[in-house]
């Protein structure tokens, strides 16, 4: 029988994960705001911003795991959706600067004045309103993914070929956004943000709120992914991953399923990017770099593909390592270490951290459950106690 959506979505590990995310999302901002600086319980603002970045990455990793881990679509261009969401938020933040810019133009952002724009390009209209920007954060990556996916999946582009064209997609966007006349600030991108919804984006309170919101978004994204992968649609996705043409012969329109999950995933990546930008204070074309997308795939591989929790964990663990190593004397070697990590994980932990843990834990748990059931049965007198030989 099919259990209710809540019971199937929230198994034990999912509940534990959500409790941890909620605890971090509540306790970290509280400790930052309530305890004075210097107190042992005070989390400094820079750390909160750093963790906030990790949380956004975790959401991006989750979106990649949804398509890669469950549907076998290896997107090496998911950073593009993340960056587009980030740009949509960045445009809102730019419009909030108003006349406080260096050039004091009430409408045009500084870079436009500098580049002799006479008026606001049409695609900047509406971004002074938060609701519109928030909508675009989801709509723009979603539309791009839908168009891209519609063409690719209908033509049955799969495997490495799909991965390569996703790389090409993010690279094309990188080049476009680098151009000054594209209207998004060229290689400097968008920065010098002042306010978000009337609050100073640099203030501790706004940062704490952004951090809490990122955790909320991660929790919601996780719930959506769980609801999808535990539904019958999730079983169809796995079927497509494991035997695509077999799934077709059962009457499933494979391209529709891929399109659905790819678009959903891009929307999630967009939200992650939108929460990331106000916390790091800048968005520039570098976010479209193909390497970023590949790095995000490594997080998922390290944490455990097809586990959701593993993807989030992998994003946090790898990025924490990156922070530690790139700020020390080992900084020049970080990319080598990342490459080595990927090779080692592929060779030694092909299921990632969570996958390996599950493989070790589940037989043990089954044995324990069986033992419990057996002893219960014995107490009930259902089975005879085993005799020692």
């Amino acid at each position: 029988m099919t259990p209710h959506i809540l019971t199937r979505t929230l198994d034990r590990s999912a509940t534990i994960f959500l409790i941890i995310v909620a605890a971090v999302g509540i306790l970290l901002p509280l400790s930052n705001l309530l305890f004075p600086e210097g107190s042992a319980l005070h989390v400094p603002t820079y750390l909160m911003a750093l963790f906030g970045k990790y949380v956004c990455y975790a959401l991006l990793a989750l979106s990649i795991d949804l398509i890669w881990g469950y549907c076998g679509i290896l997107s090496l261009g998911h950073g593009a959706f993340f960056a587009l969401g980030g740009y949509a938020m960045g445009m809102y933040l730019m419009r909030q600067i108003g006349p406080r810019g260096v050039y004091g133009n009430p409408v045009l952002p500084d870079f436009m004045v500098f580049l002799n724009y006479q008026s606001l390009p049409w695609y900047w209209y509406g971004f002074d309103m938060f609701w519109f920007a928030a909508l675009m954060v989801i709509v723009v990556p979603g539309l791009l993914a839908f168009g891209f996916g519609w063409l690719a999946f209908r033509s049955r582009v799969t495997g490495v070929y799909l991965s390569i064209i996703t790389q090409a997609m993010t690279y094309a966007l990188l080049l476009a956004f680098f151009r000054n006349d594209f209207g998004f600030g060229g290689n400097n991108g968008l920065t010098d943000f002042k306010d978000i919804l009337g609050f100073n984006v640099q203030a501790d309170g706004a940062r704490a709120a952004l951090f809490a919101l990122s955790c909320l978004a991660l929790a919601l994204g996780f719930l959506i992914c769980r609801a999808v992968v535990t539904s019958k649609l999730g079983k169809v996705l796995i079927a497509i991953r494991d035997a695509e043409s077999r799934t077709r012969f059962l009457g499933y329109r494979v391209e529709s399923y891929k399109l659905f999950v790819f678009t959903l995933s891009a929307c999630m990546a967009g939200v992650a990017g939108a929460l990331y930008v106000p916390q790091v204070g800048i968005i520039n074309p570098g976010e479209f770099a193909p390497g970023n997308s590949i790095e995000a795939v490594i997080w998922v591989a390290v944490g455990g593909r097809g586990t959701l929790i593993g993807a989030a964990l992998g994003a946090v663990v790898v990025n924490y390592a990156k922070t530690v190593f790139t700020s020390g004397p080992l900084a020049p070697y970080w990319l080598f270490m990342l490459g080595a990590l990927f090779i080692l994980v592929t060779l030694l932990l092909p299921k990632g951290i969570i996958g390996t843990f599950n493989a070790w834990w589940e037989p043990w748990k089954t044995k324990r459950d069986n033992a419990n059931a057996e002893s219960a049965a014995r107490e009930d007198g259902v089975i005879e106690p085993k005799m020692a030989e």
Binding site: M1, T2, V228, S231, K232, L233, K235, V236, I238, A239, D242, A243, S245, R246, T247, R248, F249, L250, G251, Y252, R253, V254, S256, Y257, F260
Partner: protein, 254 residues
Amino acid sequence: MSMLETRSTPSMLYLDGVHVSFDGFHAINNLSLTLATGEMRAIIGPNGAGKTTMMDIITGKTKPDQGEVLFDGSVDLTKLDETQIAELGIGRKFQKPTVFESQTIEDNLLLALNVDHRVRGTLFWRQSKAEAATIERVLETIRLTDARDRLAGSLSHGQKQWLEIGMLLAQDPKLLLVDEPVAGMTDVETHQTAELLKEINRDHKTVVVVEHDMTFVRELGVKVTCLHEGTVLAEGTIDQVSANDRVVEVYLGR
């Protein structure tokens, strides 16, 4: 030039003058075959005779260069893709058993069920009593009730064959294409499979069985078509076909 108006035949499956070539190799050569509704047909033939290619054509995996392929009287299968053909009610069991290995046996059957296959339908799907009953019935038929929660990948070769037949049953198609159902099975299992297919056929389903195993074909006791180099070499009872000089010639070598 082929006639443009839609043809209509009283048969369940109608192939006429079908040609397929891959890079100059004529896999199917002027193949014509007719199956009446409710008929079971065994297809035999040496390797490379075009048996699997014929199934690929019927299920939309391969498009014929020439010829007519009609289903259920008038549906032109050459214009449809795999999904549309499956939705019409043509189910297929592959030569190499293809089940969803990382999912449980019950989920394999669940995926095969003949219900709404669209995205929204599956996202908000809840199992009905009738569907649960179908799965129960199929599990019993293929004798995997006790193994329902096991991963399909952990099954033996013969069990996988049965699971795939079970998936066909859950799919509830009008026409079943069964490619080498007893490969790798023991004699007992082969016998049981023949019984199972006969039972399926008794439920008024049209069945095409491709098989090498002559004991099995004999046990089915149905009309046999022998293919060779993409065309029909002989047709008739198993005794007639195996007595045919040309059949003996292609099977035993020239």
